[in-house]
């Protein structure tokens, strides 16, 4: 005798059950299936408005690489772009690209946010996106996004804190703003965790040059940090290659940001660059594309993705939104072969452990540590700088994304902000 469900009268039920089962299988995977694997898809044009040139830049260069990787992965995704888009050109370029078929229009500088948000209502079927610096304005089809770079910066901080022999680390920084403050906080917490683990005192000096891109000033400030403050590990929250060159000249360690400049640009080598971090904007763009392909009229309008958020590239590589990377190696292997012997095994183990935990979403430096104000930072309208020593967030509490992205306006206690 056939089993009950194999009998002909249950054929309709069997078909229904199969559909339900397939639906459940797809739904339970935790994310939408990769469109490439789902057969022919409707074409999507991703347009990026780059605020700067692409070649030789770590910010626009990383966005460009992201879009290229997506176009490589999804045959139905076309990538178009404009370079050196200023505030006045944002809307005209966006409209031109939409007229030419762009479905997702992204600005990679915050100044593009307001103009793109303004025209979002005029194009209800187009997704707009803009990186966040502090403004979190969103609309139904206006997406704000940023990667949790502070997680990778925390790991860099661990490495830098272990590497320094003088006990002085320098940061050539742009100007006090939330993005800089948040990223510097991640790095600083890593440095202090390493210092605590190794039982040593490490000073972190921050000196501002006034803007993101000031090659001459960045060089002079880096030289001052090296000569006057005896830093033997230097990093930057600015965009030119000058601090890296000073590190080479002075034979001190450099810790990179935004992109693996050794592996992708060959600007230096691992004798100078102890470690760097790499931002994979494609992981964020991938979410937008998948929402669009799914015909979602209400996409996720806030994307703040970190090490636990990944995507699979065309070549099968699974990559998180951010990771430490150097000379195309990731994780502990990203640490310079020359630097690694100088770092104690306990710190190497800690780097590996924290990275694994963050990739699993089990740990976060901003959850683990308290936020105690240094009394310095950026006074915002309605959000003054908290008084020195005040505990803004207790340890083992999760700060909200809104706080991290829009209101984290103070340096952490112990940082030395130079005049």
């Amino acid at each position: 005798m056939k089993p009950l469900l194999s009998q002909p009268r249950f054929a309709v039920f069997r078909g229904f059950a199969l559909v339900v089962l397939l639906t459940l299988l797809v739904g339970s995977s935790g994310r939408a299936p990769a469109p490439a694997a789902a057969g022919p898809q409707k074409p999507v044009t991703l347009a990026i408005l780059h605020f700067s040139v692409i070649k030789g830049t770590t910010w626009s260069g990383a966005h460009h690489r992201a879009a290229q990787r997506l176009a490589q992965k999804y045959p139905n995704v076309k990538y178009v772009y404009r370079e050196e888009v200023g505030p006045d050109a944002t809307v005209p370029f966006a409209k031109e690209l939409i007229d030419n078929g762009a479905n997702i229009v992204v600005g990679n500088a915050e100044f593009m946010g307001l103009p793109l948000g303004t025209i979002a209502d005029q194009y209800p079927n187009v997704y707009f996106g803009s990186v966040i610096a502090s403004d979190l304005t969103q609309k139904r089809n206006f997406i704000r996004f940023f990667p949790r770079q502070y997680q990778a910066l925390y790991l860099e901080g661990l490495i830098a804190g272990a590497l320094t022999r003088t006990g002085n680390i320098g940061i050539v920084s742009a100007f006090p703003n939330i993005q800089v403050i948040r990223r510097t906080a991640g790095f600083y917490l890593g440095v202090q965790d390493a210092a605590k683990a190794l039982g040593k005192r490490v000073n972190v000096y921050v000196k501002y040059v006034g803007d993101w891109y000031k090659p001459t000033e960045e060089r002079d400030v880096a030289r001052t940090l090296a000569s006057q403050f005896k830093v033997d590990v230097i990093t930057q929250q600015t965009d030119s290659g000058s601090p890296l060159d000073v590190a080479q000249e002075r034979r001190i360690w450099f810790v990179g940001k935004d992109m693996d400049v050794v592996g992708f640009y060959g600007w230096s080598n691992t004798n100078t660059v102890a470690v760097s971090f790499d931002t994979r904007w494609e992981v964020l763009y991938d979410r937008m594309i998948r929402d669009f392909l799914a015909g979602n009229q209400n996409p996720r309008t806030m994307l703040y993705l970190g090490m636990k958020d990944t995507m699979t590239l065309a070549d099968g590589t699974v990559e998180p939104a951010v990771d430490i990377m150097n000379n195309k190696k990731v994780g502990v292997d990203a640490i310079s072969p020359r630097a690694k012997p100088l770092i104690s095994a306990s710190i190497l183990k800690l780097v590996n452990q924290r990275r694994q935990q963050m990739m699993k979403g089990q740990w976060d430096p901003f959850f683990e540590h308290a936020f105690i104000s240094n009394g310095t930072g950026l006074a915002l309208k309605g959000t003054p700088i908290p008084a020195k020593g005040s505990v803004v967030k207790k340890a083992r509490q999760t700060p909200s994304d809104e706080f991290l992205l829009g209101k984290f306006n103070f340096d952490l206690e112990g940082m030395i902000i130079l005049k």
Binding site: S52, V53, I54, K55, G56, T57, E84, Y208, V209, G210, Y213, K214, P215, T216, E217, R219, D220, V221, R223, T224, S227, Q228, F229, S240, G241, S242, L244, D245, Q248, E249, V261, Y265, G266, W267, S268, L418, K419
Partner: protein, 291 residues
């Protein structure tokens, strides 16, 4: 203090070289407001050449050559075509800004060569700049060709009558000025900050141009002005070098600019103009048509 002085001399060298060439060009009556563009081009080609060939000398020669060529081009527009010198200069600057960004972007990053030796702690370009200042002063104020240059800038008609080929003098001076601007750019990208970044000068060319007016067209005053500005610049960036912990960084950063405003206010007073106004070449910026 020693570090502050060293850095100030190195920074002032970039300003001096560019401004000195422009001073000579202006002495002959040709204004080139596109100085920054010539410096950008000189610096970019010097960097690319040095990195590609591994030779600093070839890099410097490339900077000189492209600067000279652009100076010559400016001469063609302003001397032969008798175009507006400001328009021509601005055109050169805009062209250079765009083209150097395009050409140089693939070379972004450190130069990656052994550093130029620094005798007595200073770049050789510093010594070269001082020598050139002395030579320029001698040339302009103590030689026959210098008199011809000044005549071309003061009263070209009278100079022509006295047998001076004004067009040739102006061509020579504007080309020489371009070469020095190219050398200044090369000094920046090969020695001062050997990293290629787009728009790396961030306005130093315009500072050099302003220094020419400040100098009253005298090379020694130019050297003093450039050194003073560079020292203030360094102090504003790194007051810790001599005055750690005093005043906010915001106040320090205004120092060079406040000083510039004060100086400009003084030199624009009737008293000052009456006392020193004669230093300005009378025919500066005016196209000359041979009668």
């Amino acid at each position: 203090m020693l570090e502050l002085l060293t850095r100030s001399f190195e920074a002032s060298t970039i300003l001096v070289l560019a401004a000195l060439g422009e001073l000579i060009s202006q002495r002959a009556g040709v204004l080139n407001v596109g100085l920054e563009g010539l410096m950008l081009f000189g610096g970019t080609l010097a960097f690319i050449t040095a990195q590609s060939t591994g030779s600093y000398i070839l890099g410097v020669l490339a900077g000189l050559a492209v600067g000279g060529f652009l100076g010559l081009a400016h001469g063609f527009f302003s001397i032969t075509l008798r175009g507006d010198q400001v328009v021509s200069g601005m055109g050169l600057w805009i062209l250079s800004f765009g083209l150097t960004t395009y050409i140089g972007s693939p070379y972004t990053g450190p130069l990656g060569m052994e550093r130029i030796q620094t005798p007595f702690g200073l770049s050789p370009f510093v010594y070269l700049a001082v020598i050139l200042v002395a030579a320029a002063w001698l040339l302009v104020f103590r030689t026959g060709p210098g008199l011809a240059i000044r005549s071309s800038g003061e009263n070209p008609s009278a100079a022509e009558v006295s047998g001076i080929n004004v067009a040739a003098i102006r061509y020579l001076c504007v080309t020489f000025g371009g070469m020095l601007a190219g050398l200044s750019g090369a000094t920046y990208t090969l020695s001062y900050n050997p990293v290629w970044n787009y728009n790396f000068l961030g306005g130093w060319g315009f500072t050099s141009l302003a220094l020419v007016f400040f100098s009253m067209w005298n090379p020694w005053i130019l050297l003093a002005g450039a050194s003073m500005f560079a020292a203030m610049w360094q102090l504003s960036l790194s007051p810790e070098l001599v005055l750690p912990g005093i005043l906010s960084r915001y106040i320090w950063r205004t120092l060079p600019f406040v000083t510039t405003i004060v100086i400009l206010s003084i030199i624009s007073t009737p008293w000052f103009r009456t006392r020193w106004g004669l230093a300005r070449p009378e025919a500066l910026g005016r196209p000359y048509a041979k009668e």
